[in-house]
C-alpha cells in the first residue's frame, strides 16, 4: 500500500502547498474580524474548506498527525462559522500557531523526518472550540444589495463542453459580474438537465446577449422571488481553485529536465556554429547564404524556446512577501514595537528556484529590520517620528534583472558600533567606511550582532549567509543607510539562471569560463608593465593604477613559461577596477551554467561549471570574488580620502 501511496506524494505535497497558501492569506483576513459579531462568512468558509481538504488528503496518505491537527482546526472553524464560538484574538493566535505547526508537520514529512508532535496544539484547539460564548445562532445572509437580481439558466451540452464552456466556467463568468446567491441543478421536461443560477449583479446587456450562444439564458427577476441565501455556504466560493481548469500542474523536476535539454541544445547549436564556420571557405557563396540564414534563425528560435520554458518557471515574488506580515507581527509583539508592512510589486515574476532560495534571506533581513532597525514606540515619539514603524518591501523588474528592496524607517545602521565590533572580531576595517564597505563588514563571517538575549535574529543565519546565497544566485546586494532615517537593502537578481554569455580563458593547461556580465573590458598587456607594490602587483589601467590578480597564482595553476604578452579581463570600474590576468582569452561562448553547490567543490572564486560540448567540465570563475583577492593582499583601494 505504501508503494502505491508514494507515487502520489508529489501531488499530495503540491496540493498541501495550495491549501497552505490559502490558509496564510485568509488567516490574516480573519484577524481583522476579531471582535465583530460575525466574521466574514466567505473568509471562514474558505479557511474551513482548506482545513477540511488538508484533513482529507492527509488521511489518504496516512499522515495521521497532519490529519488530526487539520481536523481540530476544521472543528474550531466550524464552531466559529456557525456562531457557536465567538472569535477572539486568542483564538486567532491559536489558529496561527496551529497553521505554523501544520506547515512544519508537512515539511517534516516532505523531508522524510520523523512526524511532528501535534499533541499540545490539538489540546489547545479543543479547549477553545466548544466552550466559548455562544452567539445566537443567526444564519449569515448575504446583505441585500441594490444590484438587480438575475436568474441564469445554463443548459450544458457535449458541444459546449468541447468548446470549453462548462458549468464551472459559467459560474466563474457570473461571479465576475456579481454575487451568486444560489446554484442548483434542475430537470426540464423531457428529462434534460440544466443549472439554475441566481445572482445579484449588473451584467452588461451585450454580455447577456452573447452568452446565449453559450447555452446561458439570463433574465432579471423580481426581488421577491429571490430564494433565501444559502446559509453560510456561499455557492460561489470554493471549487474553482482546484477544479480542472486552464492550468496544468507541473512537477518542477520536469521543468528542470526540460531546461537541461534546452541547455544541451544550446551547446549543440554552438558546436554546429563552430563546425559550419570552419567550412565557409569550401562552400559556394550562394549556398553559404542559405546556411547562414538557417543557423541564425535556429539560434533565434532556440533563444525563444529557452525564454519560453524559463517563463514557465516564473512565479510572483509575492510568494516570498506573503510570509513577511506574519513574521513581522510576531516580532513586533515580542519586542513591543508597532510595525506596519508596506508591500508593492508582488506580481513581479521571478524564477521559482530563486523564490525558494531567497525566502530565508528576505525573512532574515526583515527580522533584523524589526529587531535592530526599528526603534521602540517611545524612542520614535521622542525623535518626532510616527509611533508606528514601517517595513517596506518592493519588487520590480527591468529587462533581465529583478530588484527586491527591503527598507525600514528606523534608526539606521550605527556605523561606529559596526566598526568597533568589526575590530573586536579582527576584521580589516578600511580607512573610509562607505556603504559598500559597511555591507562588506556586516556580511563577513565572524561578524555578528547576535546578543545572548537576541534569539529572534539569531538562528545561525547571519548576513554572511544572505550574501553567499545572493551571490550563488548570480545576484548582488547593496546597502543604503542614514542615521535616524532608516536602512534599505537592495537585491538584484537575474530573472533566470541557467544560460549566460561567457568568455573562455586559458590559465596554464586549464580553460575557464568567465560570465561576460562581470567583465568590464578585455585587455592585452606586457608582462613587463606589471609592477610590484606592497606585497601585491599593480598596473596602469586607464591612467590610474589598478591592482593585478594573477589567476595562475590564486588558482594554484603552474604557468609553463614566462610569457611576454598576457591577456587580462577587467572587473569593476573606476577606483574599483581590478585586472585579472590569465594566459590567453581564447573565445566567447554561450554557456549553460551548472551548479557546483556540493560542499566538496564549493570553493571561493568558482561560481559553477559548464561544458563546451566535448564532455569535459569547465569551471566558471566568480570574477568578482577573485577580484577581492586584490583588495585583501594590497590593502586600501587607490583613491582614499583620509578620514578625520
Amino acid at each position: 500500500m505504501t508503494e502505491f501511496l508514494d507515487t502520489f506524494l508529489d501531488d499530495y505535497f503540491a496540493e498541501c502547498d495550495e491549501h497552505l497558501t490559502a490558509v496564510r492569506r485568509t488567516l490574516l483576513a480573519l484577524e481583522s474580524s476579531v471582535g465583530q459579531p460575525r466574521p466574514d462568512p466567505a473568509v471562514t468558509e474558505e479557511l474551513f474548506r482548506a482545513f477540511h481538504s488538508l484533513k482529507g488528503i492527509a488521511g489518504m496518505v496516512e499522515h495521521r498527525e497532519i490529519e488530526l491537527l487539520a481536523h481540530e482546526m476544521e472543528t474550531y472553524l466550524r464552531a466559529v462559522r456557525e456562531g457557536d464560538v465567538r472569535l477572539t484574538t486568542a483564538g486567532v493566535d491559536t489558529l496561527i500557531d496551529a497553521a505554523r505547526l501544520l506547515e512544519h508537520a508537512i515539511a517534516a514529512r516532505r523531508n522524510r523526518q520523523p512526524p511532528v508532535d501535534v499533541e499540545s496544539l490539538v489540546l489547545e484547539l479543543r479547549q477553545i472550540a466548544p466552550a466559548g460564548d455562544s452567539a445566537p445562532g443567526a444564519v449569515a445572509v448575504a446583505p441585500p444589495t441594490d444590484a438587480g437580481s438575475w436568474q441564469c439558466l445554463f443548459t450544458p451540452s457535449a458541444e459546449l463542453i468541447a468548446r470549453g464552456v462548462n458549468v464551472d466556467m459559467v459560474r466563474a463568468r457570473l461571479r465576475a459580474v456579481g454575487e451568486i446567491v444560489s446554484a442548483a441543478p434542475v430537470v426540464g421536461e423531457g428529462g434534460g438537465i440544466a443549472f439554475r443560477f441566481v445572482f445579484q449583479g449588473e451584467p452588461a446587456a451585450a454580455d447577456v446577449e452573447a452568452w446565449r450562444a453559450d447555452g446561458m439564458v439570463c433574465s432579471r427577476v423580481e426581488q421577491e422571488t429571490v430564494p433565501a441565501a444559502v446559509p453560510a455556504v456561499p455557492a460561489d466560493r470554493g471549487a474553482s481553485t482546484l477544479s480542472s481548469g486552464h492550468y496544468v500542474r507541473v512537477d518542477l523536476a520536469r521543468l528542470d529536465d526540460l531546461m537541461r535539454m534546452i541547455g544541451d541544445l544550446v551547446i549543440r547549436r554552438a558546436r554546429l556554429g563552430d563546425a559550419v564556420a570552419r567550412v565557409e571557405s569550401h562552400v559556394p557563396s550562394s549556398d553559404w547564404r542559405a546556411i547562414q540564414e538557417n543557423t541564425s534563425a535556429l539560434e533565434r528560435q532556440l533563444r525563444e524556446l529557452r525564454d519560453g520554458v524559463m517563463r514557465v518557471r516564473l512565479v510572483p515574488v509575492g510568494e516570498i512577501f506573503r510570509r513577511v506580515p506574519f513574521v513581522v507581527r510576531d516580532l513586533a509583539r515580542e519586542t513591543g514595537k508597532r510595525v506596519a508592512v508596506d508591500i508593492s510589486g508582488q506580481t513581479t515574476e521571478i524564477d521559482k528556484f530563486l523564490v525558494e532560495r531567497m525566502l530565508d534571506p528576505v525573512l532574515h533581513v526583515v527580522r533584523n529590520a524589526v529587531s535592530h532597525g526599528l526603534e521602540t514606540v517611545e524612542e520614535r515619539v521622542a525623535a518626532g517620528k510616527a509611533p508606528e514603524g514601517t517595513i517596506t518591501l518592493a519588487a520590480s523588474a527591468a529587462g533581465e534583472i529583478v530588484t527586491i528592496q527591503i527598507a525600514d524607517d528606523g534608526r539606521g545602521i550605527d556605523v561606529d558600533r559596526v566598526i568597533a565590533r568589526a575590530r573586536v572580531a579582527g576584521l580589516p576595517v578600511p580607512a573610509h567606511v562607505d556603504e559598500a564597505a559597511l555591507l562588506e563588514l556586516i556580511s563577513s563571517p565572524g561578524f555578528s550582532t547576535r546578543d545572548a538575549s537576541d534569539r529572534v535574529s539569531g538562528r545561525g543565519f547571519g548576513m554572511a549567509v544572505v550574501r553567499t546565497t545572493v551571490q550563488d544566485l548570480g545576484g548582488s546586494m547593496r546597502l543604503a543607510s542614514a542615521p535616524g532615517q532608516g536602512t534599505r537593502f537592495t537585491f538584484e537578481l537575474p530573472l533566470t539562471l541557467a544560460i549566460t554569455d561567457a568568455l573562455l580563458a586559458r590559465v596554464g593547461t586549464q580553460t575557464f569560463a568567465v560570465p561576460q556580465a562581470a567583465v568590464r573590458e578585455v585587455i592585452e598587456l606586457d608582462a613587463a608593465s606589471i609592477q610590484a607594490l606592497e606585497g601585491g602587483e599593480i598596473i596602469q589601467y586607464r591612467a590610474a593604477p589598478a591592482p593585478v590578480v594573477r589567476l595562475s597564482g590564486v588558482l594554484g595553476i603552474p604557468v609553463p613559461a614566462a610569457q611576454e604578452r598576457l591577456h587580462a579581463f577587467v572587473v569593476g570600474a573606476g577606483a574599483g577596477a581590478v585586472v585579472l590576468v590569465v594566459d590567453r582569452i581564447v573565445g566567447q561562448r554561450e554557456i549553460v551554467v551548472r551548479s557546483t553547490s556540493d560542499p566538496l567543490i564549493r570553493v571561493d572564486g568558482i561560481a559553477g561549471a559548464t561544458d563546451l560540448g566535448d564532455g569535459r567540465a569547465v569551471l566558471i570563475l566568480d570574477a568578482v570574488a577573485l577580484a577581492r583577492h586584490a583588495r585583501g593582499g594590497w590593502g586600501a583601494a587607490p583613491r582614499v580620502r583620509e578620514t578625520a
Binding site: R260, G263, D264, Q510, V554, L555, G556, I557, R594, S595, T596, D598, P599, L600, I601, V603, D604, G605, I606, G608, A609, D611, G615, R616, A617, V618, L619
Partner: protein, 150 residues
C-alpha cells in the same frame, strides 16, 4: 544503514580492500572521463566530471582512505552515487560485481573495529572467501577530514 528492502550491493576495490554500497544508492558506473581539477578543494577531491548533463564532484577513494594515488588504468572506474540529495562520484581501483549480501552475514562495525567508531563503516560482511566493508555513504561524504589508513 543498508536499505532493508534490498540486499543488493555493488562491490569495488580500493588499495586491496573490497567495499560495498547498496545498489539502490548507485546511479551509474562509468569509465573514467576527464576530471577537471577544482582549485583549493579538499585534498582527496580530484575535481569535477561532466557526466550525463550533471557536474559531479570526483572523490579519489585512495586518497580518501589515506593511500597514495595510483595512475588511472583500464580497470579504474567512476562510481556515481546518490545520497541525501547529492550526486557524488567515487574514483575506485576496480568495480565489477553485484552481490546479494544476506543481512545475517553482516556484522556491526563495533564488534570488529576499535572503539573510535569509524562511522563511515555501516558493517562488515563475511563470505566464505573474503571480508567486505559496507560503507555508510552519508557518513563518508559528511566529513572532509581524510581518513587515516589503519
Amino acid at each position: 544503514m543498508s536499505d532493508q528492502r534490498s540486499d543488493q550491493y555493488i562491490l569495488f576495490t580500493v588499495a586491496g580492500t573490497t567495499y560495498a554500497v547498496p545498489s539502490s544508492q548507485i546511479a551509474h558506473v562509468d569509465l573514467v572521463d576527464e576530471i577537471t581539477r577544482v582549485p583549493n578543494a579538499a585534498p582527496f577531491v580530484d575535481g569535477v566530471v561532466f557526466s550525463r548533463g550533471q557536474i559531479i564532484p570526483a572523490i579519489n577513494m585512495r586518497a580518501r582512505f589515506g593511500f597514495e594515488r595510483a595512475p588511472i588504468d583500464l580497470r579504474t572506474r567512476f562510481l556515481v552515487v546518490n545520497t541525501g540529495g547529492r550526486s557524488v562520484g567515487l574514483l575506485v581501483d576496480a568495480c565489477r560485481e553485484f552481490l546479494r549480501i544476506d543481512p545475517s552475514a553482516i556484522h556491526p562495525p563495533t564488534d570488529v573495529l576499535g572503539g573510535s567508531g569509524e562511522s563511515y563503516v555501516a558493517g562488515i560482511a563475511t563470505t566464505s572467501s573474503r571480508m567486505i566493508v559496507i560503507l555508510n555513504l552519508d557518513q563518508l561524504l559528511a566529513s572532509n577530514d581524510p581518513i587515516l589508513a589503519a
